[in-house]
């Protein structure tokens, strides 16, 4: 699957889309594939303060739990409630199934993240061993 060029990516496999000072966060297609069938997504409440690099929630498959790390700092303004009942959306369309929207503290934080091309290279290298 192609990694959207207008998203930025973390080495922990989250994506961040920045529009003005709003950031939208999800996990990458590579992440959903290595997790397998996702059965539950645990997300923060609206108003939660996020710190870049710290856990914002978890994704669960049948036999594994993975933390989701905040790609940038800010305040949660919206949560994708649809994932409560249909976590499989993340498997079907990882780059569309957003998890939280965040009012970013500093939109330029995104520049520290990987570009689509760099992330793709990173994933290829990681899978190589």
């Amino acid at each position: 699957m192609a990694y959207p060029a207008d998203y930025r990516y973390t080495k922990e496999h989250e994506w961040l889309k920045v529009e003005g000072n709003t950031g939208t966060v999800g996990i990458t297609d590579h992440a959903q594939e290595s997790l397998g069938d996702i059965v539950f997504v645990e997300l923060p409440k609206v108003g939660t303060e996020l710190t870049a690099g710290k856990t914002l929630g978890t994704v669960e498959s049948v036999k594994a739990v993975s933390d989701i790390f905040a790609p940038a700092s800010g305040t949660v303004t919206e949560v994708n409630e649809a994932l409560n009942t249909s976590p499989e959306q993340v498997n079907k369309d990882a780059h569309g199934a957003w998890m939280v929207k965040v009012k970013l503290k500093d939109p330029s934080e995104a520049n520290r993240l990987l570009s689509a091309a760099d992330y793709e290279k990173y994933v290829a290298a990681e899978g190589g061993h």
Binding site: F40, E60, V62, K63, A64, V65
Partner: protein, 442 residues
């Protein structure tokens, strides 16, 4: 060595195959200075007949042939013989946790039925397939309330079983969970105004027991109102499960923590028993303990599996809801069989006999001159009396007549003087009640 299926020549052949000169080669990793040179200092091997004789000797003189008025967290109910006949099937008792569902459907389906019956009886949406017992279950329920609310304090009624409260204290100490205790009122129920004052906006959970340690049935609806108004969760602990046959279930609670020993589990000098936790659907992901769920196999056939296991220690490790692993599955099976034997009508009839016997006994004791404490609250099969004589002295006399008297409360509630807690079940004969009534008058 009757449990070992090998001959000496088998062992030799196997060692040769491995390429070991002697069995010692296989223990070479243990540094020589720590290898035992001689025998362990324990008695020689006993023949099976000697083992039986030894334990018969231990069993003689204990419990057998006594009428008992003890309850206080462990209840003497008749155990239908089908229970032991079924749980003695090796397919049940020599199986492991059902991690391989294709060859564990027996255990899995019976747990699913257990979960269902507990839900029916408690009025909750979901029940787990066992905690160690009522005391540890209550402690885990308070910790669950803390996770759900993001708060850290707990409030516990002083009419909760004192040993449950001791266990809670142990568990809570290092969880950063301060516990405050709320007194009981004149009728033995929780003092509602003290409770209201005891809850603040940092209170995560409030624990009451119903019927409580004094046998009084709490007004769960009124307590729930108070607790919920402050944004805390209500945990109701049930120590006498048979009460559910006739007492309104605590549907207003957020978590029900139960000890199911009354459902066909031997008293067994205190264990193994069967803790159970039940709650609402929305709280299930913070509930500890194993859960069985229904699903389909590749051919569309109904089957059962362990599910939502990401809550558990083998996956989430230090972030798990609890460290619990081994539970009380076989005891839960005993409970399932008991609940099935009595069923929808029988549990009611059984509970009604308990109610009648305790009511009769309380009346007779009062007539004989004992003072009934905590009158005015509804009760199930336990009641408290106050006597002029020391309760241990009364019990000594009764023991001579092969009657085990009520539980002296001064051990846990010194303020209550010569008060004692008496329990009657369907097994308590009128003759024993009448005999005991003569002694409590003194």
């Amino acid at each position: 060595m009757r449990y070992l299926p090998k001959s000496e020549s088998d062992r030799e052949v196997m060692l040769r195959q491995i390429g070991a000169k002697s069995i010692d080669d296989l223990f070479a990793a243990i540094p020589p200075e720590y290898r035992l040179k001689g025998d362990l200092k324990i008695p020689r091997a006993y023949a099976e007949s000697e083992i039986v004789e030894f334990f018969r000797d231990c069993a003689t003189g204990s419990a057998q042939g006594y009428a008992t008025f003890l309850g206080a967290g462990a209840y003497s109910h008749y155990r239908p013989v089908v229970i032991d006949s079924l749980v003695s099937r090796g397919e049940f008792f020599t199986a492991y946790t059902p991690y391989q569902p294709e060859i564990a459907q027996g255990t899995l389906q019976s747990i699913f039925e257990f979960q269902t019956m507990i839900c029916e009886l408690t009025g909750m949406d979901v029940a787990n397939a066992s905690m160690y017992d009522g005391s540890t279950g209550a402690a885990e329920a308070l910790m669950m309330a803390a996770r759900l609310t993001g708060r850290h304090k707990s409030v516990v009624a002083s009419s909760v079983h004192p040993e449950y409260r001791e266990v809670i204290t142990t568990y809570a100490r290092y969880q950063g969970m301060p516990i405050s205790t709320v007194a009981y009122s004149k009728n033995g129920r929780v003092d509602l105004s003290a409770l209201e004052k005891g809850i603040d906006n940092e209170t995560a959970g409030v624990l009451v027991q119903s019927p409580n340690f004094f046998g009084a049935i709490e007004d769960v609806a009124a307590i729930a109102d108070l607790v919920h108004k402050k944004g805390a969760l209500l945990i109701v602990s049930i120590a006498e499960a048979v009460s559910l046959g006739i007492v309104k279930p605590p549907v207003e609670a957020d978590i029900v923590s139960m000890e199911a020993q009354s459902f066909g589990v031997p008293l067994g000098f205190g264990g193994p028993y069967c803790g159970v936790m039940a709650t609402h659907d929305k709280f299930v992901r913070q509930m500890p303990g194993r859960l069985v769920g229904q699903t389909l196999d590749r051919n569309g056939k109904r089957g059962f599996v362990l599910t939502l296991s990401t809550r558990e220690q083998h996956i989430r490790r230090e972030k798990a809801t609890s460290n619990i692993c081994t539970n009380q599955a076989l005891v839960a099976l005993m409970c399932s069989i008991f609940m099935t034997v009595y069923g929808r009508e029988g549990l009611k009839d059984l509970a009604k006999q308990n109610l009648a016997k305790a009511h009769y006994a309380a009346g007779e004791f009062k007539k004989a001159g004992a003072t009934l404490l905590f009158e005015g609250a509804p009760r199930f099969n336990e009641f408290v009396i106050q006597t002029k004589t020391d309760s241990y002295a009364i019990n000594d006399k009764l023991l001579g007549q092969r009657i085990i008297g009520g539980f002296p409360l001064k051990k846990f509630y010194p303020d209550l003087g010569n008060a004692s807690l008496w329990c009657c079940t369907e097994t308590t004969a009128k003759a024993s009640i009448d005999a005991a009534a003569k002694q409590v008058a003194l």
